[in-house]
Symmetry: C2
Subunit: 344 residues, 2 copies
């Protein structure tokens, strides 16, 4: 088998066409980077070893532009996004499938860097990328590379987390400062010279979720988890308020937000509560569990700045209100769309 | 919630942006069409009810152009492609995840037709589409719609089918006439006026696989299944010969091929054995099982023209030879790439 020119080579139509060129790319790139027995078996499917327990499945297409940004790239993001969705079910993510849609002419060196970043993110998160697909589209029919990842994980028997499980009286927690992913990507995209260190929060949160579950004697006190990605905290809370038929109330002053991110949002005309995060989670829990959860969260790498930001009430079902820094009460609406397209 | 204009509306950036517009599209299109309790729960993950047994996972990105072709469309194809990969493991496909990457400006009416075609294909195949994602990219950064599907299924304990399990002496079967998908798509793409009824063979093969397994008292007599998609029969056989470290020999005259498809291939300069199929399978089995399997296959809707086309030998490991219609023996090489790009 000839060697791929990693320095100057580019992706060609044949790399996605099922023949020898694709076989070579799979062999010399994907299998080497992801290296696991399922992928190495060479079939169009993977056989999974799954411990007992109910399964969870989640899926995310990643079309972020630019492909690299401070704090991450599309490769790591495509692992984090799906690992987090599975973890938000209270499940342990085990396996990922990854599908690449690549534009003809994309540099092989860039593809390799992205794939290596995925492999490294998967190792850190403790998941294996066990099966996948590669397709190539003509120039002008794609945009560099799109990566869709689908994850499966196993939930502990009896543990039911759902956005539909919030109850009046529950506390609302967040695991850290908001809006960092959206602002970092926006700054990279527009090549804005903003002050301060703007970096995406992109991270795998399955370890944090495990630490939270371990902190509770009665795990049923944790009702819902959601990662506030597209549409930000505003979208995530409005969705869960609607699913649960409850009202929610947030205290703006208690929501962690770094000064430089707040300044960037002001400059860009963005509402931080509507900006995407990729390494934060919202937890909704019985009030008696919130201190214990916060303590556990703050001891974890990805939760040091966790905070109690609001509570659930029986008021207007499906509505979220915000008490602003100035003491004014207003509705916190979900955005019509994400203010920043192609954010994840 | 306002109503989507299905007649004149087009996909906008907001439809993939996590806010209200996306919620509306999910509610009024995906949930209505796919209608199942997992999707309706409204979480970013699906809880799966899975019977006991080892799991199988497979994943396919679909970028076919044109989106509709005689015999199918990208929606049905995206279900068939993944259902078939899971079925080739000897597993019963149960659940699919579906991710849509849509180009801004794509007509909502076309999207709805594709989604309804997916829903109908899923119902026919007995699988549920339980979770998914929708992303929108700017005009000129995509091509209508790309659909990635990932499937999971359950395999019977002890049943191990793999391309690595072919043994010298095994028989090689095919479930019907070849090259129909590739030729139909090519004719539609180039708007060629070819004679005869050229239609894709796109179909879900899980029922056929079940019928084959049911026909065997000793299921271990079936060694490998593969659907010869991109790269056609030539690619599939070369892959399995390499995985198993065996040689294979095919008799061209015994490979089913309709006269109009053969004529179209000749006109287009294509080798039918290298052209994609989307509703055919290759089975490799112990010689004593082949008659029983062929009988069962021929009684099934998708296997009426099944045939024995060759056998496995201990010769040059990883090589496939072809005895042509003219009695000449030559190597059957896998294509470098698929002769037709964007075929699935």
């Amino acid at each position: 088998m000839s060697t791929i020119d990693w320095e100057r080579g580019v992706v060609e139509a044949a790399h996605g066409a099922g023949g020898r060129a694709m076989g070579q790319l799979i062999e010399q790139l994907f299998r080497r980077a992801f290296d696991n027995p399922q992928l190495n078996a060479g079939d169009d499917f993977a056989r999974l070893e799954v411990p007992a327990g109910p399964l969870v499945m989640s899926c995310d297409a990643h079309v972020i532009s630019p492909l690299r940004f401070p704090g991450g790239d599309i490769g790591a993001l495509s692992v984090h996004g799906t690992v987090n969705d599975v973890a938000m079910a209270g499940a342990r993510p085990l396996y990922l499938a990854a599908a690449f849609i690549i534009e003809e002419g994309f540099p092989l060196a860039e593809l390799r860097a992205i794939v290596e970043s995925m492999a490294s993110a998967a190792r850190e998160a403790g998941v294996s990328i066990v099966t996948g697909d590669t397709k190539v589209v003509q120039r002008g029919k794609g945009d560099g590379v799109f990566i869709t990842t689908t994850g499966v994980g196993v939930r502990e028997e009896g543990l039911v987390l759902s956005g539909a499980a919030a109850r009046p009286g529950d506390h609302i927690l967040i695991s850290g400062p908001i809006a960092e992913h959206g602002v970092a990507v926006m700054a990279a995209r527009e090549q804005l010279a903003l002050s301060g260190d703007l970096r995406s929060d992109s991270a795998a949160l399955n370890g944090l979720v495990q630490a939270m579950l371990n902190a509770l004697d009665d795990r049923s006190q944790l009702h819902a988890l959601r990662d506030p990605t597209r549409g930000g905290v505003a979208a995530a809370l409005n969705e869960m308020a609607a699913q649960s038929g409850v009202a929610m109330r947030i205290d703006e002053a208690s929501v962690p937000l770094r000064a430089e991110v707040a300044a960037a949002c002001e400059l860009l005309g963005l509402e931080p509560l509507q900006v995407a995060n990729e390494g934060r989670l919202i937890a909704i829990c019985a009030p008696e569990a919130s201190q214990r959860l916060l303590t556990a969260m703050r001891q974890h790498t990805w939760g040091t700045e966790s905070a109690l930001i609001g509570e659930v009430s029986a008021g207007d079902p499906g509505r979220v209100s915000l008490r602003t820094r100035f003491g004014v009460e207003r509705w916190l609406e979900p955005p019509h769309g994400e203010p920043l397209p192609r954010i994840c």
